[in-house]
Amino acid sequence: MANIFPRWTNLLPLKIAVCIGTTVAGIALAFSYYATPKTLRVGYQPSQPIPFSHKIHVDQLGLDCRYCHSFVDVAGHSNVPTGNTCWNCHQHVQRDSPKLEPLHRSMNDQHPHYDGKPIEWVRIHKSPDYVYFNHSAHVNRGISCQSCHGDVNQMEVVYQAESHSMGWCLDCHRAPEKHLRPLEEVFNFDYGDKDVARYVAEGSAVKTTEDLGKKLKEQFKVSPKTSCATCHH
């Protein structure tokens, strides 16, 4: 009789085990990092038919969010401006900018390529069909646009700033004070600790936005729910 396995095979099982272990751990790590909304969604920045700059409109010109997203505090749904919202200004301002070609096609019946069809904006923030998210419920209770959409006022091209995963929603529903603001500040993208003083009596211990958030949570009786039917029905 002779050994059918050469000597090097003695260490082989161990080697295989280590290899498999490392690979599995690697895959798990990679999966838990990459295959999450945090990685998959955040930073999604498609190019839009019109390179609309929120930075120019909000930051430089000082338009309020609700000028275009006019129903955000009324309806569950935050609407994207209709063609005539844009056209109101742009039939006068920057009328001949080549960037506005799609708007002309949609709105300007004098334009040679006018077809009256709406502009197809590329959707960035998308919650699944089975999620019920109501904008008005949030903005009317002191949650700013900024909390979910990031510093849109600084965005030349809009991108997704937050993961919008369920875990992310729950983080805020469990600790809303980090995001609660006075209702007047909901659409203010520059809100910060400096603004707190305006809302508290002098000499108050409330200094930071989070302190104020805590106070408002009590005062507004904000108690976000975490049970399923809050968002799924």
């Binding site: 838990s32 945090k38 993961s163 369920m166 729950l170």
Partner: protein, 492 residues
């Protein structure tokens, strides 16, 4: 310890104690080599025609039934089964409990009989454990594919996820997931570890290169040195000690699926012991169903002796009676509760729309094993086989009675509606039977169906002090041996 060691002690202390008659577990004084030859021969020789006749159709049925059935199910929806909004669990869960029940005898025979030093287990434990593995595989198919969205079944696994949501650890079904998967894993380890020395035996007999390599790999380089045996024995003991409560827990947890519900007829404290007894009962019946033919086909009469069969018949009698007691106790508790819903549930079981299922359950499970009170019946293999088949069928009906008849007549008469299985239900069940048989055939073909090392160990001369006692041959052994031989001769 074997009987011989006891006699050895008697000898040493020089006190003549009455010695229980024990039968030899290996007849005809077969040698170690004979044992090796005979058991390895099963997988080394050409398979008898019967093997092919069983294997090919089973494999085909398994492929159509399980493969095709599941494909249709997953692609189309649970609606292909007969389940309804009234009877949400129908055949699939009946089959699940049926198979998981069968899956209990293996580990039970191995573990509990090992711990209680029932050495007669050695010649049946391997096959019984294999049966466990295969039965649990068959069982697992049902709940896994029973869920409406099988592609989301991973929701059952507690892994961190972006949804930040977790499982409900209060759900008996989640306990069940843990219990069944643990049971499968531990049974697999137990089975495999027990097989390692035998795989080494086969490896050492192999001529063919590929076979030798494969058996070589799976025997892990086992050498049979006592420094290995020593740890190995300890490991085996530990596994047996772990498996014993596990075996009891698994069917208890399965019974929790019913017992912790509010359904009349399910919500009873008797369920865990009743389910465990039922599982042992059904499991042993299935072992008999499989081992009796196998013993003839492969000529293993000297290893799986009438003693084994007799013991198993007695266990069936015992557990069958326990199960019968449970059936009657259920009725009594329902009657004694004075609760209308409870009483009605049992009334409707006995004589309601599925009275035939209840009648089948009672006669097959409770009455048919009573025949084993008679020694003649335990010795007649045809009778034993018939009773084992009865019990197999009866235990299926027991689950049917528990699940279907209860759900079809629950609380509000307005929702009462009977249930009938669809063709797909039947196809999948037959498919799992095919799968079970096919896997068992493959097991017979490729793996040692009897624990070679342990059978050798049960031989009296395996005791290191055997030769010291030769002068004190155990009378009982001789008498029994003569009796067994006589018995064997008359049978064959």
């Amino acid at each position: 310890m074997s009987s011989t060691s006891e006699t050895a002690q008697d000898n040493v202390s020089d006190v003549k104690l009455p010695v229980l008659k024990r039968e030899k577990l290996v007849l005809e004084g077969r040698s170690y080599h004979w044992i090796t030859e005979r058991i390895c021969g099963v997988l080394e020789n050409r398979q008898p025609l019967l093997w092919w006749m069983l294997f090919l159709p089973s494999a085909l049925i398994a492929m159509i039934g399980v493969g095709g059935g599941l494909f249709h199910l997953v692609s189309t929806g649970v609606g292909v089964w007969g389940n309804t909004n009234r009877v949400m669990w129908g055949w699939p869960i009946v089959n699940f409990v049926f198979w998981i029940g069968i899956g209990h005898a293996g580990t039970l025979i191995s573990a509990i009989l090992f711990l209680t030093r029932q050495n007669w287990r050695t010649s049946i434990n391997r096959a019984a454990e294999a049966m466990t593995i295969f039965a649990v595989m068959c069982a697992g198919i049902f709940p896994a594919f029973h869920v409406g969205r099988v592609w989301f079944a991973w929701f059952l696994a507690p892994v961190p996820n972006a949804n930040a949501i977790w499982q409900n650890f209060k759900s008996p079904l989640l306990w069940d997931v843990f219990a069944v998967s643990t049971y499968f894993t531990i049974s697999l380890i137990f089975w495999y570890l027990g097989m390692v020395p035998d795989l080494a035996t086969i490896r050492d007999r192999c001529k063919n290169g590929l076979r030798k390599v494969l058996y070589g790999i799976f025997s892990l380089g086992w050498r049979g040195g006592n420094r290995q045996w020593s740890h190995y024995e300890m490991a085996y003991l530990l596994l047996a000690a772990l498996s014993t409560p596990l075996v009891l827990s698994v069917h208890s947890v399965v019974s929790f699926d019913f017992a912790t519900s509010v359904v009349p007829g399910w919500h009873t404290t008797i369920f865990p012991p009743y389910f465990v007894a039922g599982a042992i009962f059904g499991g042993f019946a299935m072992v008999l169903t499989i081992m009796i033919p196998a013993r003839f086909v492969y000529g293993l009469q000297d290893l799986i002796t009438m003693k084994h069969i007799d013991n198993m018949a007695k266990i069936i009698l015992l557990t069958g009676t326990i199960v019968g007691y449970a059936y009657l106790m259920e009725l009594f508790v329902a009657f004694y509760s004075g609760a209308l819903y409870e009483m009605n549930a049992f009334k409707f079981r006995i004589a309601g729309p599925y009275w035939w299922a209840y009648a089948a359950m009672m006669s097959l499970n409770v009455l048919s094993p009573q025949i084993f009170w008679f020694k003649k019946c335990r010795e007649n293999l045809w009778v034993v086989m018939a009773v084992a088949m009865c019990v197999n069928v009866g235990m299926w009906f027991e689950r049917f009675v528990i699940i279907v008849t209860t759900l079809a007549r629950m609380w509000l008469p307005g929702d009462w509606k009977t249930y009938s299985p669809s063709g797909q239900d039947q196809l999948l069940f037959v498919g799992t039977i095919g799968m079970f048989l096919a896997l068992f055939m493959l097991f017979m073909r490729f793996l040692p169906c009897i624990n070679i090392a342990e059978v050798k160990w049960t031989k009296v001369e395996s005791d290191p002090h055997y030769e010291d006692n030769e002068s004190h041959a155990d009378d009982g052994v001789v008498v029994e041996e003569a009796y067994q031989k006589e018995l064997h001769d008359t049978k064959s």
